[in-house]
Symmetry: C2
């Protein structure tokens, strides 16, 4: 068992062990936000046939050459073709078929002229333009050719990609299964917020914040409730959670106290302990273990510490398991626009908010930085990475920060510099 | 009925008419991504009582003053208090209680010293430090005070906010209902991708791409299927859709052709037509109408045009209905890193991809720009806004672009300048 390792070593060790979950097929109706498990080749052309982009007349371009001498040509309209219906007749010299937007181009025709550019009298049209063959025709396969690779394994299924799949007749897509994340809170002091508060007890916030993060990420959280600070019970609940999930996350009891039972519970289960403690503040007490090829990550019970280590250590892991190619959080440099008078003997992550001003990134602290304080997480969009043995931080210092959580529009709004 | 109005006028007209949907209460388990409909005041302190941030001993600070003369003081340990349990005894001069992390601070004690800083022998501890009252105690309400406003109406419910609500014992939150968006595709030529392809028909991609966009945004899409290009049937289906939704979006049949029946269908329903056609390319044929205080927006049937107008016109509307304070898409300026040889007599939106290089935003076209082409939407993260009467665009020109869809991490990665 390694101990007191760096955040980067923890990330590397876990990403090497994490494997994408199994694959399956889902309907396009369930595909939003899922991740492709295979490259996708188009099974047909898009569009599947040559069609008209407008309401007009399909004819032979060479018929319009006579306009040069005669000033105009007159063609007989032989049928009207609507979108969704097949042409019944072939266009020959001297004839034209009326075509509606999206209608198949009739055989024999090689150009379409728009409705407004012709004069119609009864069953005849008069044309005064010389047309080039191919004009105003959307060719079969113009958007996508049969056999063309349209998307790749590890691509996130966006609305446009889902639309494109529908367009090529793909109603089911190969995706990685949803990662099932069991979340278990340890602590005799915990109550569910739906319960009445009792003296000496506190409400369990970690289950709710981590569950919401899992949902936002596109995984399937399984709320495994609260377990007492007893080694045997904790071992049993973790074992149960492992059976129905792909990864188990616990909070609380991961430190060195007399009632920090998670490490012993994992040993009792004969789990392979990968590491214990990461050299960072807050959130140092993290245990990573493996059992039956599944990972168990035990986080601190302090609400802010749990959220921060979840973002820095668990989220990259979950992204790998989801099948995403890009896993580690984004790093941004910014100018510190605040004062933080404390020394940092240990590597520390401070909760901050990046904003953009005069084409530069600035970052301010979002409030109290203690392990247990949740309020400063609310407006936090980045964690300032303070190296060990740093002195006080002053206005104007350059800092490096890690973007946390999904980027929301409010976050993006402050970044690009409008 | 207004016609051929600017995009900005269309947005303004519709945002003035759109109202947030009704409010309700949801469990924290269903709150992720929802929008608050009321300000939230904390009903209790967080934490609810003074507690210990570490494993240690609770005692009276004045007892440690004697360390100055004696070098150390010896205190009798009267009990052990675990997290979740109440102290049974009061700490008096000469005594201390062992406290575990999270345990309530016993009456009489005003300081906590960490476990590692004392020497324990049997029922006694020896202390060699002079301590200040209040040290190592998390005071009741240190994170949040009872009555404090912790979140505001129109706030998006993030994971941290959900965790904070759990922490203050709020198990149900007031939110705006999910906006129900009925999506209806018109067109005799359309097939669902699960059906077998027939000659002259194409697969309906709009339902799937728009449905996925609605899901990503956090609304509840209702797939209303495909309706034939017949006025009476279209009017009937739109009326049915209005009954079960908050807004109806149709695609196809919104232009001027013989089989573009949506405008007439809306008139037949006695809907109030707000405008028809927006001065932009692609996606000019947009109809906005109102019936029974609900909006109906009819978009072009061309897949790219439908996606673009949905992003520019419908998304702001849906955000207003969801209760979000920020509705219009973000605008970014960038350097055009491509060539586009065509003139743009009409205002035009080109599909592009913004990326960051040397601290600057650049944008390239993502491929073919025709109305029907879906492929260039796949990697598109911004629409370049080309004013009417523009000439060809060259490398190096400054352009203005509108970010489309939700900002994903890939998009953000190219924006902030790492």
């Amino acid at each position: 068992m390694k101990t007191n390792i760096s955040l980067e070593e923890a990330q590397t060790l876990l990403l090497a062990l994490a494997k994408p979950v199994k694959e399956g097929y889902v309907s396009l109706f369930d595909a939003t936000g899922r991740v492709l498990s295979q490259d996708i080749q188009a099974g047909q052309d898009l569009p599947p046939f040559a069609k008209s982009p407008l309401d007009g007349y399909a004819l032979q371009a060479k018929d319009t050459e006579k306009v040069a001498q005669l000033g105009s040509v007159k063609l007989s309209v032989i049928e009207e073709i609507r979108a969704g219906y097949l042409p019944a007749k072939k266009v020959t010299s001297g004839t034209a078929s009326k075509v509606m937007t999206g209608a198949p181009v009739p055989a024999g025709a090689d150009v379409i002229i728009k409705y407004e550019a012709v004069e119609r009298n009864g069953d005849y049209i008069t044309i005064s333009d010389i047309l080039n063959a191919g004009s105003n025709i959307i060719q079969a396969g113009e958007d996508i050719k049969k056999g063309e690779t349209v998307a790749y394994k590890n691509n996130l299924l966006s609305p446009s990609l889902i639309g494109l799949f529908a367009g090529i007749g793909l109603s089911k897509v190969p995706v990685f299964n949803k990662v099932r994340v069991a979340i278990l809170s340890t602590g005799d002091e915990l109550l569910d917020p739906a319960q009445e508060l009792q003296p000496g007890k506190i409400y369990n916030s970690n289950l709710h914040s981590l569950r919401a993060l899992c949902l936002k990420l596109g995984t399937e959280p399984i709320a495994f409730g609260i377990v007492a600070d007893k080694q045997a019970v904790t071992a049993e609940r973790i074992s149960q959670a492992l059976m129905v999930s792909d990864i188990v996350i616990t909070t609380g009891g991961a430190s060195v106290g007399d009632y920090d039972v998670v490490l012993d519970a994992l040993k009792q289960m004969a789990a392979n302990i990968i590491f214990w403690k990461v050299d960072m503040k807050p959130g140092s007490p993290v245990i990573a273990a493996e059992k039956n090829n599944k990972l168990i990550i035990a986080l601190s019970g302090n609400p802010a510490a749990a959220l921060i280590t979840f973002n820095l250590i668990v989220v990259p892991l979950l992204k790998k398991m989801m099948g995403l190619a890009c896993q580690l959080p984004l790093r941004i440099s910014a100018v510190f626009a605040d004062n933080f008078p404390k020394q940092s003997p240990q590597r520390r992550f401070l909760r901050g908010r990046i904003y953009r001003q005069d084409e530069k990134n600035y970052i301010k602290l979002t409030g109290e930085q203690s392990n247990g304080i949740l309020k400063s997480m609310i407006t936090c969009n980045a964690l300032i990475d303070i190296p060990a043995n740093s002195g006080p931080l002053c206005v104007g210092q350059k800092v490096s920060a890690v973007l946390v959580g999904n980027i929301d529009e409010r976050t993006a709004a402050v970044l690009p510099g409008l």
